[in-house]
Structure formats: structure tokens, C-alpha cells
Assembly symmetry: C2
Homo-oligomer: 158 residues x 2
């Protein structure tokens, strides 16, 4: 594994120290391929969103009841194709190395990505949702959907 | 397992269909005990915050570099003491049953809780952070810390 100057690795793979497991409730589908993904959601929106949609597996579709088109939701997805042992990183866009927990890099001990997206169309019966954008590549495992809540999901103030 | 009227279970435990594992980077410490937790972060703040703090395990502490006191961060934590198979729920505070993905209930296929909190004190060397509040009970495994980003973590508009 190569490292940029200032980067630090853990010396072990956190995946080898798992205490619980995650299941896929479906997948994120997009126009992005591994190696050609937008760097983040903002860049994804600038590139047109990526024809982003969700495919929810059949057993989990009843869990969509109560969601609505136009609603903002959190996606938790597993970006598991990257290394998990880098604890200080030197991203190309940042000035100098920074701790992994001060970055939104997909490279992290538990590669659970967090994205705030808007539902544009929703078909609970087929488990298909179109969303405004994603930075995930096609086929990324989806772990969870949560409603965005005004009361707790933003810092107080303007 | 008991069910309220209108609730639906999956018929399997998603934990038995894991494709990857999560590791604890530390723990959330608080005044709350299982069975006496606030229902959510807003209620936790109304109850004084719960003397909330984080203890990061030694190997992961370099990952805190770049975080600062006063900063808002996301916590991802594992609420793994609940069942994972309830896909439609009838919470006491809601009117009628709703899909799990339309709720912030800790009962969900992948029990990864999401909390936006503010760092009040930070000691990267000892891995101790005080935060303004948590609804997690004492000892809850912490999976990740991410910086809150104004550009992607709130819906556009006022």
C-alpha cells in the first residue's frame, strides 16, 4: 500500500476487529463507475447528479411507507472497496495531512458514507426511488435510509 | 417478540445476512442507562445533555487531528441492543404504523444511529471529547466521526 507524505496507517485492518455485521437493504444505481466517481455530492450535482436511483430489495420495501416524493433523506452506504486502515490522510485537495475523522473521505475505519439527497420519484411497490444525486458508483450497497429532521439535523442558528 | 398493531417483521434477522463487519473506534459515555434513554437528541438536550463524552481507542486517536472545539460533527454509533427485523413500526408517539425508513427509531435492519453534536472540549492525546449531548446510553460503540459540512449536509434554501 502506497502512502503520501504525512499519511499514517493503523497497522491492522479494522475489518478484522468487527463486532457486528451490516446487511444490504438494496443498492445505489448511478452513471458513475469506480475510478470515475465525483469527489463528493456537490461535485456530483455539478455533473448532473449521475442518474441516481435506489433499488430496495423486496423484503425491505414495506420500510418505505411514509416516505414521500420531494422529501430529503439520509443515505448510509458502504464504500467498502477502499482500504480501512488509513488514520491520517493527505488528500490532494487539502493542505497537508489531516485525521480521518476530520475528513469526509470514503477511506475510513468503517466506510459508511453519509449523503443527504432528495427523493424525486418513489415507487414503494417496486422498491425504486429516483434521487437528485449521488457520488456513489453503480451497485454500491445501501445500508439505511433515514428521514432528514429539521429539529436535530442542523446546527442551531441561521 | 411482541408486536404492536400494524407492525411487520422481516421473517429473518438482517444480522444473519451480513456482508461486512463494523469495528468500534471507541465508545459514547453518558449518564443514560439502557431503558432510561432520551427518545432523541432534542429530548436529550432538554434533559441537560447527559454529560455526554467520547472515548476514542488509542490506535484511532491520530484520526482526530484537524477537529476543533466548537465544531459540529456527525457521530455514527451502533445501537445493537435492539431487534433488527422490524420493517413497519408503530411508535407510541406516531399516528399509526410507518415504515422503518421513514422513522429515526433505533430499531432498524442496520442499527447505525446518526447524531449531530457539538464538540465542547477535545483532547486528541487522550482521545477524550466532551460533546453537548447524546441520546446513547453509556458504553454505546462508536463507529465514526465526520465533520458537518455546510455545503452538503443541509437542504438548499433558508
Amino acid at each position: 500500500m502506497t502512502a503520501r507524505a504525512g499519511e499514517e496507517a493503523l497497522g491492522f485492518d479494522p475489518g478484522d476487529r468487527s463486532f457486528a455485521g451490516v446487511a444490504a437493504i438494496g443498492r445505489i444505481r448511478s452513471a458513475w463507475r469506480a475510478g470515475d466517481c465525483p469527489r463528493n455530492l456537490r461535485q456530483a450535482r455539478e455533473r448532473g447528479g449521475g442518474h441516481a436511483r435506489l433499488e430496495i430489495d423486496a423484503p425491505y420495501r414495506p420500510g418505505l411507507a411514509g416516505l414521500a416524493e420531494g422529501q430529503w433523506i439520509w443515505l448510509l452506504a458502504w464504500y467498502g472497496d477502499r482500504r480501512r486502515d488509513l488514520i491520517v490522510q493527505a488528500p490532494a485537495h487539502a493542505e497537508g495531512p489531516r485525521g480521518t475523522f476530520a475528513l469526509r473521505s470514503p477511506v475510513r475505519p468503517n466506510p459508511v458514507a453519509l449523503q443527504l439527497v432528495r427523493i424525486t420519484t418513489l415507487d414503494a411497490e417496486t422498491g425504486r426511488l429516483e434521487i437528485d444525486a449521488t457520488d456513489a458508483f453503480d451497485g454500491t450497497p445501501l445500508l439505511d435510509i433515514k428521514p432528514w429532521l429539521d429539529t436535530v439535523d442542523r446546527p442551531p442558528g441561521p
